[in-house]
């Protein structure tokens, strides 16, 4: 018994000393390093989008492979803090985390390591925490969704002209993840884009309660098609909805990258956030000793919001030309996505709305968001806060997770 314990202890000690002798001296050696914390790996479209952007930014900035340290499969727990601390040990000067739930743990690391910059995608706390080295970022993806909606509306118009459907039957279906502002803002802008070219359009939204659930997303898409939706779009990360559309030959507007490879007959266009400009911005800022904005919103102008190639096989004729024209108006500021003249809520035009911009546990509304005739989305903080249900959109269910 005692002998067993002794041999075990000795064995452990030997392993430990072996390990200790292998400790390499990393730490800060003056070379710029960029650390990235990812929720999953390349198999998730969400994280793939970030990984590809990191690689593009690295190429554009001329960073070597050793200057980029990526940590994959980091859950939204204290493991995120530990990953961040480990990246600090490895000599990273700026650390980025890609998932909403990473925020509290990244914040903890930011407080402990004031000399390192921490950047977080989709978060909401930076503008109220006011730490000099903690930053949020997002993009005005509603602009991209609006454009994708225009493409959807053109497709509906084509169907009406061909008498496949009547104007009243122009109903779209939308598969959403959760009933959060990020999703609401997305489907509303998509709907308004479609409505701008096809005035009779309506839309049903069904929530799955998960960011990634291939079966649920597929089932939701099928249920929507069964209830008479003639076009489907989605805000969730799996191929569930697009592949259901391809099976039934129903046109699909995708998200987070083109799905034309697996859906050649039904894919119209896809919008996504391109994080390359943000990564270049934060790396440059740190290398040049400049401050990073507390709350950064990428726009269609900065190249942060992009559309994929239009699939001419599925899209209506002239879609690309119309998209280019509408995009130019968005870039110039002539067109506002949430123009209060274009939508009503319970039959009324809005002139005032208090949005929940500052993070608080009680979800209190704190900021007037409607001014100059439009809803100022992503201006008071980068993460979306548009959470109204506009007329013409029906929620089949709600799911707050």
């Amino acid at each position: 018994m005692f002998k067993k314990l002794l041999s075990l202890t000795l064995a452990l000690l030997m392993v430990a000393t072996l390990g200790a002798s292998m400790v390499s001296c990393s730490g800060d050696d003056g070379v710029f390093k960029f650390g990235v914390i990812l929720l999953h790996d390349e198999t998730s479209t969400y994280d793939k989008n970030f990984i590809e952007a990191v690689q593009r930014a690295a190429t554009n900035l001329g960073l070597t492979e050793d200057q980029i340290v990526m940590k994959r499969d980091i859950p939204e727990s204290d493991a995120c803090y530990e990953a961040a601390a480990d990246l600090v040990d490895a000599g990273c000067d700026v650390i980025f985390a890609d998932s909403f739930g990473h925020e509290t743990f990244l914040l903890k690391a930011a407080k402990e390591f004031p000399d390192v910059e921490f950047c977080h995608a989709t978060g909401t706390m930076a503008h109220t925490e006011k730490l000099p080295n903690f930053h949020n970022a997002f993009a005005s993806i509603y602009e991209g969704r609006y454009l994708a909606g225009v493409a959807a509306g053109l497709k509906l118009n084509e169907m009406i002209e061909n008498e496949t459907i009547t104007a009243e039957q122009a109903k779209m279906g939308y598969v959403g993840a959760f009933t959060f502002a990020e999703v609401i803002s997305g489907y509303t802008s998509f709907y308004l884009g479609a409505k701008s070219v096809c005035p009779s359009v309506t839309m049903d939204v069904q929530f799955t309660g998960s960011w990634y659930d291939e079966n649920e997303e597929k089932n939701a898409a099928i249920a929507l098609m069964d209830s008479g939706c003639v076009l489907i779009s989605q805000h969730a990360d799996s191929m569930g909805a697009p592949s259901a559309c391809e099976d039934r030959d129903v046109p699909n507007v995708s998200y987070n990258g083109s799905t034309v490879g697996s859906c050649p007959d039904t894919f119209i266009v896809s919008s996504k956030i391109d994080w390359t400009p943000y990564f270049e911005y934060i790396c440059n800022a740190v290398m040049n000793g400049e401050t990073i904005a507390t709350d950064w919103t990428g726009t269609i102008k900065t190249g942060s919001v992009v559309l994929s190639e239009v699939n001419t096989k599925a899209a209506a004729e002239g879609t690309q030309a119309t998209l280019d024209a509408v995009k130019a108006k968005l870039v110039s500021g002539e067109l506002k996505v949430f123009d209060t003249d274009t939508f009503t809520v319970e039959g009324e035009k809005l002139s005032s709305y208090l949005a929940d911009v500052d993070t608080d546990p009680k979800y209190e509304k704190d900021t007037e968001a409607i001014k100059d005739g439009y809803f100022h989305e992503s201006e008071y903080r980068s993460a979306p806060y548009f959470d109204l249900t506009v007329d013409g959109i029906t929620l089949v269910n709600t799911n707050f997770g």
């Binding site: 452990l12 430990a16 400790v23 994959r72 499969d73 979800y363």
Partner: protein, 369 residues
């Protein structure tokens, strides 16, 4: 008759059960198995990752994951301790052949119970009392979560594996519900709580590691040196024998599962009070299932579990480091971990059995003894 005997051919080799072999021999077999596994892994990594993953670099990174920096060494110790804690919790149930697959859920409700105390009473009570209250709540919650399947098993003979497994899902959704309802309405993660932090001894890891080591010693004594431990062993061997010698099987089942769940609850408390200070559906993150392997590999012996828990933690951390160092996704590290575990589990065969090759018969009819 004579003819048949002449024609009977001995196969090229056959397998025979070994008698007990000395410790050094069984250790040698294990070391050789691990060396073979590492050799195969380095070759595989070289093929799959490419020339940048030279065998030397690959092995260095595998060790760097646990021993690369002082922080990693502490995290290695902490991960081992937490895994060990859950394995210890499962062990009494396993020795009784009660397949408790619900350690994840039992630890998670333990964590949740602590968070309830800290969230609603934090700041209103002195920290010491708050911690004590959280600890009791966690232990109680974990025990109840394990006791429910045990009651059903004892009274109606339900399948404990399925029952405990299903309780995991209830626990997960209870956490999600609680966060959305109370801790952070509308979101699926919550902020860090300011109260109810476990005091730090040197750093946040050491106290937890010490607690688990003491627990390991206590569990060893409980299982091998007390009447309870003996009863558990007898019930595990044969329920009928247990009844015959006057052991109340139902009572032992319930008592053991309360202990099993209570230790899971303790682990949940440690996770929340020492590290997370919040709860999410992933707080335990499947550790309750990994703990099953830790307990099995150690043949349900708490002292050997220190080694098996350390091995699994070492492989996990090394795998993560390989993924980071060579910029590959987690598939390759998972293959590496799989190969090493396969060899370690596979070598048990060579410890329990020996392979005898055909030997030329020296005398007529002289088969292998």
């Amino acid at each position: 008759m004579h003819n048949v005997e002449k024609k009977a051919r001995e196969p090229l080799f056959h397998v025979a059960k070994r008698d007990r072999i000395p410790l050094w021999q069984s250790l040698l077999i294990r070391v050789v198995a691990v060396l073979f596994a590492l050799l195969l892994c380095t070759l595989l990594a070289y093929v799959l990752i490419g020339p940048k993953a030279t065998p030397g670099k690959f092995l260095t990174q595998l060790f760097e994951g646990s021993f690369g920096t002082e922080r990693r060494l502490w995290i290695f110790g902490r991960d081992t301790a937490m895994l060990l804690c859950l394995a210890l919790a499962l062990t009494p149930a396993f020795r009784m052949r009660f397949w408790n697959l619900g350690a994840d859920g039992q630890a998670l409700v333990g964590a949740l119970a602590s968070v309830y105390c800290m969230f609603f009473l934090g700041g209103k009570l002195p920290n010491g009392i708050l911690l004590l209250l959280s600890l009791c709540a966690s232990i109680l919650a974990g025990a109840v979560w394990a006791l429910l399947p045990a009651i059903f098993k004892a009274l109606w003979g339900t399948n404990e594996s399925l029952f405990t497994l299903m309780m995991n899902y209830i626990a997960t959704n209870l956490v999600i519900f609680s966060i959305t309802k109370w801790f952070y309405p509308g979101k699926d993660s919550m902020k860090e709580m300011a109260h109810g932090h476990l005091p730090q001894v040197y750093n946040q890891h050491l106290l937890v590691i010490l607690i688990v080591l003491v627990l390991t010693a206590l569990m060893y004594l409980y299982l091998y040196r007390t009447k309870h431990g003996y009863e558990i062993a007898v019930v595990g061997e044969s329920e009928n024998t247990a009844r015959y010698i006057g052991i109340h099987v139902g009572k032992v089942t319930l008592r053991t599962l309360i202990l099993s769940g209570a230790i899971c609850g303790l682990m949940g408390f440690l996770q929340v009070s020492a590290f997370d200070h919040s709860v999410t559906a992933q707080t335990i993150g499947g550790l309750g299932f990994t703990a099953i392997m830790v307990s099995w590999l150690a043949k349900f012996n708490p002292l050997i579990m220190i080694g098996t828990a350390a091995l699994i933690s070492f492989l996990d951390l090394g795998g993560e480091q390989i993924s980071t160092a060579f910029n590959v996704n987690s598939a390759i590290p998972s293959i590496v971990i799989g190969i090493i575990l396969f060899f370690i589990i596979g070598c048990e065969f060579f410890i329990n059995y020996k392979i005898k090759f055909r030997t030329a018969p020296k005398t007529k009819g002289g088969a292998a003894k």
